[in-house]
């Protein structure tokens, strides 16, 4: 299968040039003429657009001739780097369908689809998927399908787009095609043209020894590659190890909504690249350059929008929804002229297995909800809580915005009583005496019964006034003593009680030790929610 992008030099510019031309011609003009030209000392027209073509501008004309034909014409020098990037993006997309893709520079690629037909539901659906995908990237493409790569390429150049499935059908079609379509050596083509030999069929009918002597053995081998007599190995296309794409915007954009629309194109390329390399992205950076301002006037640096994901992902919908929520929070200091998308961290993401039964899709490994919330509300807004093996209540938990599931085992209840603690219940009303003698915070045995803990903890214990402390003292139940932390400067000696207040709430209160017991201040530390 071959894909030819005949209008590539024109299409890498199409939006930007169309805008400038429309401004020059005034509103209401259907499409102003413009043309891509070579950058040589003597530039000539390389690709005129439709309006220019209608005005008589043709490929190969001098600029002066073109200007005479269409006075309003705009010229743009060809940008081969952008063409190569666009071709690579298409090749990355085609890698979704087959692992064997190779580029035919400057504006074509060939791919082996034979092994992919069944997986993608037959030839018609596969071809449709390919055509739709390339069209969605804003490129005009000519597709041709043939048993050999060179044959497909020649057919695409000859505008023969009906698929050919076997060599018996292919041969008569190839025989009529001019030799120039086969990437043959131009000197050999010229030599043969001098003898009146211009098509593939005529060249193939010549005696092979003589042909090899005059045009070189490579030329004969080329003929054999086209019809499948010898193998045609090609260098496979491998997507680059790092992803970075740069999109100049057609008009400077103030509005993040419009920016999101353009950024979708970059995300599309990113999703293709991730799929082709079997990766998922963890962190992304969107660099919004305010170029004109940076260079000339005020020196506004580029705005950088960082995106982080809970787990590696490459689903376009997921990337897009996170980007949308994140862009809402961005304030642009100046209009954006160029948008660059760079990956900062990636991780391997294996392909998802489908279930055996319909509707039995594997569980998505990522958590898009958490990512969307973080993107909109800020990194630290979504917290995960975890219990730690520690006796001091305020240190027995941590809450952080840990990104990718460091799954904490359901922790052992902190401040659990040592075995036999109940037997220590003394006459002073203590049900348990917790004394930790060594600084190690070993996980406690899970089987130890735990004393109840409140569901709500106050961030800072609230002191209780003397009057109300008397009420607390009158209503307290049995105490739990927590005495720990002398080694790290946060020494804690407290007697905890559960107290039901007159209005029905149940509080977790404690009394500190001043000199002995039962002589300290009262604090509320939590609520039994």
């Amino acid at each position: 299968m071959a894909v030819l992008l005949p209008a590539l030099p024109l299409e890498v510019f199409a939006p930007g040039v169309a805008r400038d031309a429309a401004q020059a011609a005034g509103a209401g003009a259907p499409a102003a003429p413009f043309a891509v030209v070579t950058g040589d000392p003597q530039p000539v027209v390389l690709a005129p657009n439709r309006a220019a073509h209608a005005a008589g501008v043709r490929r190969g004309q001098r600029l002066s001739a073109a200007l005479a034909l269409a006075p309003a014409i705009t010229f743009v020098v060809r940008d081969t780097a952008r063409e190569a990037a666009a071709l690579a993006a298409v090749a990355t997309f085609v890698l979704r369908f087959t692992p064997h893709v190779s580029l035919v520079r400057p504006a074509a690629l060939v791919a082996d689809l034979a092994a992919s037909l069944r997986l993608f539901g037959g030839f018609t659906r596969l071809a449709q998927g390919l055509a739709d995908g390339i069209a969605a990237r804003g490129l005009t493409a000519r597709h041709a399908y043939a048993p050999t790569p060179l044959g497909a390429l020649a057919l695409a150049r000859a505008r023969h787009t009906a698929p050919v499935f076997d060599t018996a059908t292919l041969w008569p079609l190839l025989a009529a095609l001019p030799l120039a379509h086969f990437d043959a050596d131009p000197a050999a083509c010229e030599l043969l043209a001098g003898s009146g030999i211009t098509t593939y069929g005529e060249a193939l009918a010549l005696p092979r020894e003589g042909l090899a002597r005059r045009c070189g053995p490579a030329f004969v081998e080329l003929l054999d590659r086209a019809n499948g007599r010898v193998a045609d190995p090609r260098e496979p296309y491998v997507p680059p190890p790092e992803f970075s794409t740069r999109l100049p915007l057609p008009v400077p954009v103030h509005d993040t909504g419009a920016l999101h629309f353009v950024a979708r194109r970059a995300l599309n390329e990113l999703a293709d690249w991730l799929l082709a390399r079997g990766l998922g992205v963890l962190r992304l950076e969107l660099v919004l350059a305010h170029e004109r301002y940076t260079h000339v006037r005020t020196g506004i640096p580029a705005t950088t929008v960082a995106l982080a994901f809970g787990g590696p992902t490459r689903t376009l919908g997921h990337l897009d929804s996170v980007l949308r929520e994140r862009l809402v929070r961005v304030e642009l200091p100046a209009p954006v002229e160029t948008l660059t998308l760079v990956t900062r961290a990636t991780a391997a993401l294996p392909a998802r297995d489908f279930g055996f039964l319909p509707g039995d899709d594997a569980v998505p490994t990522t958590a898009p909800l958490v990512d969307r919330l973080r993107a909109r509300l800020g990194e630290g807004s979504v917290l995960r809580v975890a219990a730690l093996a520690e006796h001091r209540p305020e240190r027995a938990m941590k809450s952080d915005a840990g990104a990718a599931a460091p799954v904490t085992a359901p922790a052992t209840p902190a401040a659990a009583s040592p075995p036999g603690a109940a037997a220590l219940a003394a006459a002073d009303g203590l049900t348990a005496r917790t004394r930790l003698k060594k600084p190690a915070a070993d996980p406690l045995p899970a089987s130890t019964p735990s004393l109840p803990r409140p569901l709500w903890l106050l961030p800072v214990p609230a002191p209780v006034s003397a009057l109300r402390a008397a009420t607390l003292a009158a209503r307290r139940g049995a105490a739990e003593r927590i005495e720990s932390g002398w080694w790290d400067g946060h020494d804690v000696r407290r007697d905890y009680h559960r107290v039901v207040t007159p209005n029905g709430s149940e509080l977790w209160v404690y009394r500190t030790h001043r000199r002995g017991i039962d002589d300290g201040d009262w604090y509320v530390h939590g609520l039994f929610g």
């Binding site: 219990a387 359901p410 109840p452 009057l467 109300r468 039901v500 207040t501 007159p502 209005n503 029905g504």
Partner: protein
């Protein structure tokens, strides 16, 4: 009534009547709406009072309470633990939006909640909280979403109810009293009050007949689901003197307190 017209034995008439009443189009006053995928609460008395014998899994539930600390969250924890352990379900995450205090991890872990699947969202403004709650209710991986919101906006509440229905999420909206007089968009509205060391649950609205008497639930005595987990002993509380001064109840965050 009506048996006078039926000549024959009574049991066949009853069977015929039962067959007629089995028609789903027939609805009687004391019936509850069918709730095929209810989530067992873990409390027998409460299960019996709710349509489908459990929390509605795809609807919003309003729980109205005067103040925290009466065992309100413990009423829902058995259901959360069940939900998170249900391997057949894809929706197993639990999201808490704008809780009034810090949820204390050791207590949650002791109640059987899987902390790796619990997310606490803190919001700067009520609008953000509303947005986050709607997203959570609609999310494909979120099985239960709780929010402590102070909104009275009927349109916002309606939106949340629709989000819970469409996202098939067990949503709980914790509210202050004062909303009880207004029409509820939620499928279920409970009012909680402390009742001598236990929790009185008034079912103000359910999809079914009216329930005049409050249920009294001991929130520390959930059954069934916590095999292997110790049931916490409850300390006895002394009766309150009638004229005791009110205790320094900690001030709640402003947006939550502003609802009353």
């Amino acid at each position: 009534m009506g048996t006078g017209f039926v000549h024959g034995n009574g049991s066949s008439a009853q069977a015929a009547l039962a067959a007629v009443l089995a028609n789903p189009a027939i609805w009687r006053g004391r019936d509850c709406a069918p709730e095929p995928a209810a989530l067992a609460t873990g409390f027998g008395a409460l299960d019996a009072a709710l349509p489908g014998r459990g929390w509605p899994r795809a609807a919003l539930t309003e729980i109205v309470l005067e103040r925290e600390g009466i065992g309100e969250v413990r009423l829902t924890l058995p259901a959360l633990a069940t939900l998170q352990r249900d391997a057949a379900q894809r929706k197993r995450d639990v999201v808490w939006i704008a809780p009034p205090y810090t949820p204390y991890a050791p207590a949650l872990a002791a109640a059987g909640v899987d902390l790796a699947r619990l997310f606490v969202v803190q919001c700067a403004t009520p609008q953000e909280a509303l947005w986050a709650y709607e997203q959570a209710l609609r999310a494909a991986e979120c099985g239960a979403a709780f929010a402590w919101l102070a909104t009275d906006d009927a349109r916002a509440l309606r939106r949340l109810a629709v989000a819970a229905r469409e996202g098939r999420t067990f949503g709980v909206l914790w509210r202050r009293p004062g909303v009880a007089a207004r029409a509820a968009t939620a499928a279920l509205r409970l009012r909680l009050a402390p009742a001598d060391g236990r929790l009185a649950v008034h079912v103000d609205k359910r999809r079914g007949g009216e329930l005049a008497q409050p249920l009294v639930v001991d929130v520390d005595r959930a059954h069934a689901h916590r095999a292997g987990l110790a049931i916490l002993p409850r300390t006895a509380s002394r009766p309150a003197p009638a004229d005791a001064p009110s205790l320094p109840f900690p001030t709640a965050p402003a947006q939550w307190a502003a609802s009353a």
